[in-house]
């Protein structure tokens, strides 16, 4: 589904443009009277096309485009700017330099708008798909060079059974997290091999918890500082299990186990890595892990509903979690429902 963002401070215009968007196949509109809220929304949601008015009291169309272009992953989204008159050449020149792709003049002609929007979205989607294919073929070359070892997958499965024998809830949590991480990786349009790698390696992301004492893991009350640190040690302990393994899956397992509690703003553990210094797979699993933890009951609290958990995670977008990954989680509602049906939450043994 193509998302068309429509920004205009006049609600009548907004309603009219949104209605025209419904005539474009496979498209939905997301309408905003406030350019500032539109920008916040754009940080966490993929967009195929933007339609923005020039004259708005909160922020001009040109300023909006400038801010929008600075959002990661939004530099090439087509933007159509709407002006009240076609005469202002200087304004149009500035707008083009800032990143406007085309102009429409009021009164907006619906047929002209539909044609323009469709063409832009087709081009945008082709470009995005071509880039994704190019990326995926590069990864395939890499993987062929090192060759995927079925033995790695067997090893991961064995480790899963070890977890199950010790703590069924922990093993289920890992399975749920891996499936959600897979859904997110798909929404991020990672290559098939990368998605498969993350989905496999994430199945043992919490294996380091086997080194944490049961009385700490099952404690129904607030942890002491020493206990908290012993729980945090699970990340490094997990990574250590796969240290120096160089096959793609095991190297990925080391990254994920070691860095899935690194927060996007650098406030996580164990290394305090920040932003893209955190491996992508670990950034994805961080979001999936948090979501699965929030939606499961714990000895010290009840499970949150899916909606509340998503809201909670959205609050962490930009500080704990990478915003576009949070957006990808939001898009994964049908996968979330499947996962919850497949691995229902077991009551904690307090």
């Amino acid at each position: 589904m193509n998302r068309v963002m429509v920004v205009d401070d006049h609600e009548t215009n907004l309603k009219l443009y949104a209605r025209v968007v419904t005539q474009i196949p496979n498209s939905q509109s997301n309408a905003f009277v406030s350019p500032k809220s539109a920008l916040r929304w754009a940080e966490i949601n993929d967009i195929s096309l933007v339609l923005v008015d020039q004259e708005m009291p909160e922020m001009s169309g040109v300023d909006f485009i400038r801010a929008f272009r600075e959002i990661r992953g939004r530099h090439d989204v087509p933007i159509i700017m709407i002006t009240a008159t076609s005469g202002d050449k200087e304004l149009r020149r500035t707008a083009v330099q800032t990143g406007a792709s085309a102009f429409l003049t009021k009164p907006v002609d619906p047929v002209e708008f539909i044609a323009l929007a469709q063409n832009f979205m087709v081009m945008h989607n082709l470009k995005r798909d071509a880039l994704a294919r190019a990326e995926s073929s590069q990864v395939q070359v890499r993987l062929l060079q090192t060759s995927v070892d079925a033995k790695d997958v067997e090893l991961i499965e064995t480790l899963e059974r070890v977890m199950e024998a010790r703590d069924k809830r922990l093993a289920d949590h890992c399975k749920r997290t891996a499936l959600i991480a897979e859904a997110i990786a798909n929404k991020l349009r990672l290559s098939t091999n990368d998605v498969r790698g993350i989905a496999t390696a994430a199945r043992v992301h919490d294996i380091g918890k086997l080194s944490v004492a049961d009385r700490v893991l099952q404690k129904p009350a607030r942890l002491t500082e020493v206990e908290r640190r012993s729980v945090q040690a699970h990340a490094a302990a997990g990574a250590a299990l796969f240290a120096e393994r160089e096959t793609p899956i095991l190297a990925l397992a080391a990254q994920i186990a070691g860095s899935h509690h690194e927060w996007f703003d650098g406030s996580g553990y164990p290394a305090g890595l920040k932003g893209e210094a955190i491996p992508l797979a670990a950034r994805v699993v961080a979001v999936a892990d948090a979501f699965c933890a929030l939606t499961s009951s714990r000895p010290y609290r009840d499970a949150l509903s899916v909606g509340l958990a998503l809201d909670e995670i959205e609050r962490g977008a930009g500080n704990h979690y990478e915003p576009r990954i949070v957006g990808a989680l939001r898009e994964s509602t049908s996968e979330i429902a499947d996962v919850r049906a497949r691995y229902p939450d077991l009551a904690p043994t307090a």
Partner: protein
């Protein structure tokens, strides 16, 4: 059919794929917000504030042209033009004319509703 000197429905028909109920809902919304904008214009005019007169007229012009409110668009464009040139002479009369155009538009929409729905 509404008087096309007041309301030209051709674009709205394309936008709404001839959905009369949708068009009427939008027009009624435009009438309500239009009234607010005219009040804003009159306040700015009473204060002799040319910048805000131009701004209010510009907003009215943009949204009224989108819905095909021909008379409203023409008068608000004239007001904007004068205010941008820092001229407020005759604008009080134009503002009264604008209010009249809204009254006519409201009646046209009412007749359209009675006829179509």
């Amino acid at each position: 059919m509404p008087d096309s000197a007041i309301l030209d429905l051709s674009r709205l028909r394309e936008a709404f794929e001839d959905d009369d109920a949708g068009i009427i809902e939008l027009l009624e919304m435009a009438l309500n917000t239009g009234t607010k904008h005219v009040e804003r214009l009159k306040t700015a005019l009473a204060e002799g504030d040319v910048t805000n007169v131009a701004r209010a007229a510009h907003g009215i012009k943009g949204s009224s042209s989108n819905i095909g409110a021909i008379a409203v668009t023409r008068i608000s464009a004239e007001i904007e033009d004068r205010a941008r040139n820092a001229r407020l002479d005759g604008v009080t009369e134009l503002a009264a004319e604008l209010e009249g155009a809204y009254v006519a538009l409201r009646e046209t929409v009412r007749d359209y509703r009675a006829e179509a729905l």
